[in-house]
Every structure is written in C-alpha cells, then in structure tokens.
C-alpha cells in the first residue's frame, strides 16, 4: 500500500512556509496551536564548560527529548485552552495557576514554556550571535525604534498611554529568537510570561530538576515536594531549607549568597559571599538561568523580593526598555499576581 500525505492543509502550509520550523499541533479540543520546533542541543555547545550532554531543556523525568515544541507566539486562551496563534492579542491578566491549568487543558504533554526553556533558548540565542529585540517601548523596540508591531489597543508606536501589547508576531523578524520569520516571536518585551521551574522562597533559590517542570503531571504548587534548593558548595539539588543552600540578597557577604540589585541588570549579579557559591553550583544556577553566563547580556533586568514564595516571569514587558530581554527575570511577585502585562506561552513535548 503506498504512502499517502496527510492533507491537513493548515499544517502543510505552515510547515512549507517555515521550512518545518513551525508546525501546527492540535489540542484536546482540536484547536490548532502554532509551535516552533526547537531541535535538541547540548549544553556545552551553547555555553562551553557549562555541562556535559544534552541541555536539560530537553530532559524531562529522565527522558531525553529530541525536540521541544515552544509556542511560536505568546499564548491566547480559546475555549479554556492556552494556544499559540499569530496575529492575536496575547492573553494576560491571569495568575500562574490559571495559566498553567489552561496550558495543561490542551492535553497530555502540554504545559507552559518553562524557566529552563527560557534559559536554554537564551543561551542558544547568545551562541547563535543574535539576541532578539521586541516590543519594549509601547509598540516599538527601545533599541531599534523603527521596529514596530501592531498594538492591540489601537495605539500608535511610542504612545505611552494605553495597554501597549502588540499582536503576536506582528513585529519584524528581529523580534523572533532566531532573526527569521520562522522563529519564536515576542520573547522580548510585550508581556511577561510565567515560567515554571524556578522560584524564590524567602530569598532561597529553588528549582525543579532538569525540565521536569515541563511535565504535564508534575506538581508545581507552592507545597510541591518537587522543589529543590541548590547546595552552594556542590551544586547538588537538596531539600529546601538545608544548610548552605544558595540564596539571593540585595547586599552583603553572607555565605553562598548572590547579590543583585532588584531592578538592575541581571549580568551585574555578583558572588561576594565570605564563602562564595562554588563553581559547580554556579553552573547549575546558569543552567537554570539565575546566574549570568557572562557580562554580555545587555541591560536585561532582574527583580526580586526576599519574603515568601516568588514565582518568575520572564522576557520583560512593553515599557521596560533595555531591562526587557531573553535573560530578564522577575521574581518580585507571588504566583497569585494578576496584571495586564503578564501572560504565558504554551509548550509541548512527549
């Protein structure tokens, strides 16, 4: 019996137009979601010396993934599912748990683009020699003001009034992660994106191993037993609250404590402790995108608060200027925070 070609014209056209870099996956309710196919890469290949083998973005529950599907566009909510569609006003104004539930409603294997995804893609972009720009100044790029997108509120580029989200993918290719029309759009600026897999608890950095946060069944709640702190001496993932775990602070020289200025540049984070965080632990932190891999990360910012659980969102927002970027991380708010500038992006892997 001869092979036949699936005549799904939407998928076929999207794949043909993007060389297969963007495909269409269908959700449990049969809704299409435009997903960029990120081929697996090694950690050492994007940051020499960081770690051997596959970047943990492609490791989930001990299973190596040959690819990871990331929403080509910021998520929108349709029929209770978080999907990725071009030309839409990104979803916003929902808290972390709501967005996570909507992404998981897409079916097995679905979830949010994780903190580890952000970290891996950031390293890949940096290694690729191109760091994307985006909507960082009310509908235009703060770095390249001639680069604009279509504002969902009807406002003009640069007009500082209104909700200045731009319609997904309406900006130039330089607003996509690989500087091509098939890249992941709007990682920088536009809306913050909830990024599971990292958090601060009273200043202690906690993570979920590898990219296990991508699993559609893992417990990502505040009380989850999956959370691990990082041993400052060895980099081992240990029970939160253990001795010598890595913490973050605004100043001081406490042992195993990183210092940064909330609202300042992420790359300015230092390791000034009387007992500094060991190199092995710094590598783990770099893999999780919570310690800078170099001093060439531009003005991408970091924000944090040291009390209670603080769940990150990444990428920046439409009016953050140089502080927005693929390395920007905001650990200032609780998971319950709701704002018109905070959205999320669906992701998928088997």
């Amino acid at each position: 019996m001869p092979s036949i070609y699936n005549r799904d014209s939407l998928r076929a056209n999207v794949e043909a137009a993007t060389g297969g870099k963007i495909t269409v996956l269908y959700t449990a309710k049969g809704q299409p979601s435009y997903m960029h196919v990120v081929s697996a890469f090694n950690a050492d290949d994007v940051e020499p010396g960081l770690a051997a083998g596959l970047h943990p973005m492609f490791m989930t529950n001990g299973q190596a993934k040959t690819e990871r599907f990331i929403g080509a566009y910021p998520g929108v909510v349709r029929n209770g599912e978080l999907i990725s569609l071009p030309g839409e006003d990104p979803a916003a104004s929902a808290n972390f748990d709501t967005f996570l539930a909507q992404a998981r409603a897409n079916g097995p294997g679905w979830g949010l683009m994780t903190n580890m995804d952000w970290s891996g893609l950031g390293l890949w972009c940096r290694k690729n020699g191109f760091v994307p720009r985006g909507n960082t100044n009310y509908g235009k790029s703060s770095d390249a003001p001639w680069e604009t997108g279509v504002r969902g509120d009807g406002g003009l580029p640069g007009n500082t009034s209104g909700i200045a989200r731009t319609q997904a993918g309406s900006g130039p290719t330089s607003w996509r992660h690989d500087n091509t029309h098939a890249g992941i759009a709007d990682l920088v600026g536009n809306v913050w994106e909830w990024s599971p897999g990292l958090r601060l608890v009273d200043g202690e950095i906690q993570v979920i191993a590898d990219n296990n946060a991508a699993s559609s069944t893992i417990d990502l709640s505040a009380a989850s037993s999956e959370w691990r702190a990082i041993d400052g001496a060895t980099g081992a993932l240990v029970t939160p609250g253990s001795a010598n775990t890595v913490k973050i602070a605004s100043s001081g020289t406490a042992a195993y404590t990183l210092v940064a200025s909330s609202g300042g540049a992420f790359q300015s984070m230092t390791n000034p402790g009387t007992t500094p965080v060991a190199e092995a632990a710094l590598k783990v932190l770099k893999l999780h995108g919570i310690y800078p891999v170099g001093a060439d990360l531009g003005g991408d910012g970091i924000w944090f608060t040291l009390d209670g659980e603080r769940v990150p969102y990444r990428g920046g927002v439409w009016n953050y200027g140089e502080r927005a970027g693929v390395f920007a991380v905001n650990l200032y708010y609780a998971r319950s925070n709701v704002n018109a500038s905070i959205g999320a992006r669906p992701a998928f892997s088997l």
Binding site: S3, R7, D8, R11, L25, G30, Q63, P108, G109, L350
Partner: protein, 306 residues
C-alpha cells in the same frame, strides 16, 4: 286492506221510524269508511310519487333504472376489473422503483475508522524476572489524533494461564493512563475483546496447559506483532487505515460516491482527506489521509442511470 265497516249495520225493523239514534250510528260508520279510503288513497299517491324518484312518471323511472342495470353488466364489470388491475400494476412498478432507489440507485451507510498505531518503539519481550510477564520498550504512539508517550515498563502486564486443551489467543495493547498521562501496557483475558481505547500491539498465542507452574517464563507462548508503525506520523501515512464497504451490486462502477465527515477525534479532517482507493460494482474502499481518530463517515452511492 278492508274498510272499517264493509257492511253498514241494518236498521232493526222492530223500532219506530225516524228514530235519530238509529240513523246516526249508520252515518258514522259510513264516514269512517270514507276517511279510511281517503287515507289509503293519499298514502298510495305518496308512495307512487316517491317511486318516480323525481321523474315525470313511473315509466320514466323504470327506464332510468333499466339503464343503470345495463351499466352493471358483466362487460362493464370486466372493464372495472381491468382498470383496478392496471392501477395495482402501476403501484407495483412505483414500489419497485422506490425499492430500487433505496437499495441500488442510491445507497447510504456509515462507518467508523480507528486510526491508531505506533510512531516508534513500543515492542514487547517476555520478562525474565517475573512470572508470565511482559516488558515494554518505550516509545511513542498515536491515538485520538495526537501522539502519546509510552515509557519503558518492566513486568508491565501478565499473560493469563491457559488450562484448556487447545491454543488460545489473547492480545497485548496500550491504553491511556490518565494519572501519568502516558500509555501503559495491558493484556486481555482469554475470550475478552480489546477495550475501546486500545492500541493493539501483539497477538499472544498460549498453548494448552500453560500456567505459572508449567511455563513461568512464557517459553512456549508466541508473541506476534500486529503493531501498525507510522514512523512519519502525522505528516506521511505509510499504512493508512482503510475500510472496505460492500454495496448492492450496480451495473457499472462509475457511480457517484459522496463522503461526509460526521465526527472525529483530533485536529482536522475534511472530506478531501478521505480517499477512495478502489471501487467496484459491489463495493469500494476508503482510506484516511489524516492523523485524526474515531472518524465517523457517512457515505452515499448514487447511480441514477443504473
């Protein structure tokens, strides 16, 4: 009918003349006779009038009746019978045409296509560490129009014993486990059908007297793979699900065939993704050029010039 007083009572001759009482009795009898005659005459006239039936005379009425009787003659009744027979024939022809329309010229039906299989892996081997168990090598499968992961699983499902006197066949299959959001392995019991949400992997032939005691490692049990492998799913389908539909035989295979997609599980399926891979006078075969599952198709064959 006699009149009331056929004989007027004689006047007795032993009475004196001109006695009024004697004469009045006779007059009354005579009056009663006259009235009787008048009544009867009037009744006869009414009956005759009715018998004329609106005609001028009884004769005209009789003539009309005669003509009517002539119309009920055997010849005329033959004509009526012939007409009735012809009407029945025509009704029969119409019924035959309706029957032909429904059974031959236009035929309809509904089928369901299950489009499931393996993308990669998902092979089974006999366990060496547990009695009558199978190990599953992980992989990826497709069902419901999307892919699922099936993780490695050791001693994932047990094979039932066969205490009978002949070979029996059971089936190994994957099913979706909602708790883990992954596929898991199971084996049917003897005589049990595959459940609805199953992906059939193997037929397992169990010889007689195969039990924990006699064959703990399944040495004499045969695993026959029936895995439908679609390595390029969902883009290219190498072994598309096909369904042969039998129809009432038509004179030629140049009939019109319409297919409507009633429902499906998964992303997208339109009628142009249902291919007619073969057609004959007594049936046709449909193939699915889509990744979706549980496809309910309504088909209609029409050949008005059959």
């Amino acid at each position: 009918m006699p009149i009331p007083h056929p004989n007027i009572t004689p006047i007795p001759n032993n009475e004196p003349d001109a006695v009024p009482g004697l004469w009045n009795v006779r007059y009354e009898e005579i009056d009663q006779n006259f009235k009787n005659i008048d009544d009867r005459t009037s009744a006869n006239e009414q009956e005759l009038s009715g018998a004329r039936g609106g005609k001028a005379s009884i004769g005209a009425r009789l003539t009309e009746m005669s003509e009517q009787l002539n119309q009920m003659s055997p010849e005329f009744q033959d004509v009526l019978a012939a007409m009735a027979a012809m009407a029945l024939d025509q009704a029969g022809v119409a019924n035959h045409s309706v029957k032909a329309l429904r059974r031959h010229i236009q035929q309809e039906g509904e089928i369901t296509l299950r489009n499931r299989g393996v993308v990669a892996g998902c092979t089974c081997v006999k366990s060496t560490t547990a009695t009558r168990n199978l190990n599953l090598a992980g992989g990826q499968v497709f069902m419901n129009g999307r892919m699922y992961r099936a993780p490695d699983a050791t001693n994932a499902a047990s094979v039932p014993p066969n205490t009978g006197s002949g070979n029996v066949t059971v089936r190994a299959y994957l099913y979706f486990h909602s708790g883990s959001q992954t596929m898991r392995l199971a084996v049917t019991n003897i005589g049990e059908e595959l459940p609805t949400g199953a992906i059939h992997l193997y037929n397992i032939t169990i010889p007689p007297n195969s039990t924990d005691a006699t064959d703990p490692q399944l040495t004499n049990v045969t695993l026959t793979s029936v895995r439908r492998v679609e390595a390029s799913y969902p883009r290219t389908i190498n072994n598309p699900v096909a369904h042969a539909v039998a129809i009432e035989a038509l004179s030629k295979a140049d009939y019109r065939l319409d297919v409507d997609v009633v429902s499906f599980s998964g992303g997208h399926c339109s009628p142009d993704q249902v291919l007619v891979s073969s057609r004959a006078t007594n049936g046709f075969t449909l193939e699915l050029a889509s990744e979706v599952d549980n496809v309910v198709l309504r088909w209609r064959v029409s050949k008005l010039n059959n």
